[in-house]
């Protein structure tokens, strides 16, 4: 009997979560931002300006957004290291090569 209840409880929690009943999950722009930051950390010799980027996307009722938009993040992630360095993106990712996006 307890096995059925446990299965039913698990199924209910999973269903509610998958149907969007909670704010638990991964943000699309957050993931893209983190991916771009990872690429910048690998490319840039000085990562101090990169470490301060905030990629956090608010859960629940907050409105906080990542400092890099999805378009900026994808642009930075797809650029090669030389282009990022020469464009100044290593010093200021938000105003470098992909700043206008």
């Amino acid at each position: 009997m307890w096995k059925r209840r446990l299965l039913a409880l698990g199924a209910a929690v999973l269903s509610l979560t998958l149907l969007g009943g909670t704010d638990w999950g991964i943000g699309n722009s957050e993931f893209a931002c983190e991916d771009a930051v990872q690429h910048l950390l690998d490319c840039c010799p000085d990562d101090r300006s990169i470490r301060i980027i905030n990629c956090y996307q608010a859960r629940y009722c907050g409105s906080e957004k990542p400092e890099l938009s999805v378009a900026q993040s994808q642009c930075l992630r797809n650029a090669d290291c030389d282009a990022l360095y020469e464009s100044g993106a290593c010093d200021n990712p938000q105003h470098g090569r992909c700043g206008g996006l």
Partner: protein
């Protein structure tokens, strides 16, 4: 020397004694019967019956797969390695099992992720070496942030189809096989968007089925 009927009478008496007193299957007096040994009938030709697997009763199904994964998620390309274990039962044509899987990898940029999953799998044998399997997966997608070194997670649910081709077969129906899989998963996301949370998975792996 005998003349006239005398010799014939003597012969007739001799034969008459032999026929009248003796039986047909007895040797004539003075002769020793040598018993004839009739060889036993040859045994029936031996037929070698290979032990066959029971078609109707299931046997324990244990399989292990190890391979590479390509996945798309949140607009990024991810590559990783996968290991999984299947436990269940199968017969000659059909099998059902629980699949426990683990996937680790990274985006092309280097953002690390993990994805443990479990779910039911139903397999069908389509030819001597080819099997088709459909499965549902439930799991968690996790990745490590580059900015804070903390992890984020989301539940996932999906479906996939697998084709396996046996490279080496054992008598019991097991063997070493090559595996190809196409799957789709929904990763729960803050936008609650089906498109943003869709993840397509391609797998190539080697497996062993006990």
């Amino acid at each position: 020397m005998m003349r006239g009927w005398t010799p014939l009478f003597a012969v007739a008496m001799t034969l008459g004694v032999g026929v009248g007193t003796g039986r047909a299957d007895e040797p004539p007096p003075g002769m020793i019967e040598v018993p004839t040994v009739t060889p036993p009938p040859p045994p029936p030709a031996a037929t070698v019956v290979a032990p066959t697997r029971d078609d109707h009763h299931g046997i324990l199904h244990v399989a292990v797969d190890v391979g590479g994964v390509y996945r798309t998620a949140f607009g990024s390309d991810l590559v990783g390695v996968l290991a999984e274990l299947e436990l269940g039962a199968r017969n000659e044509r059909f099998g059902v099992a629980a699949r426990f899987g683990g996937e680790v990898g990274a985006t092309v940029a280097g953002l690390k992720y993990e994805m443990p999953t479990l779910g039911p799998v139903f397999s069908f044998r389509v030819s001597l070496r080819l099997r088709l399997a459909v499965a549902a997966t439930f799991g968690v997608f996790m990745y490590q942030r580059a900015t804070t070194n903390t992890a984020e997670a989301a539940v996932t649910a999906g479906l996939n189809g697998t084709v396996t081709c046996d490279l080496v077969r054992t008598r019991r129906g097991g063997g070493l096989y090559l595996l190809g899989r196409l799957g789709w998963s929904y990763i729960d996301n803050l936008e609650d968007d089906l498109g943003a949370g869709s993840s397509v998975q391609l797998v190539t792996a080697l497996g062993y089925r006990y």
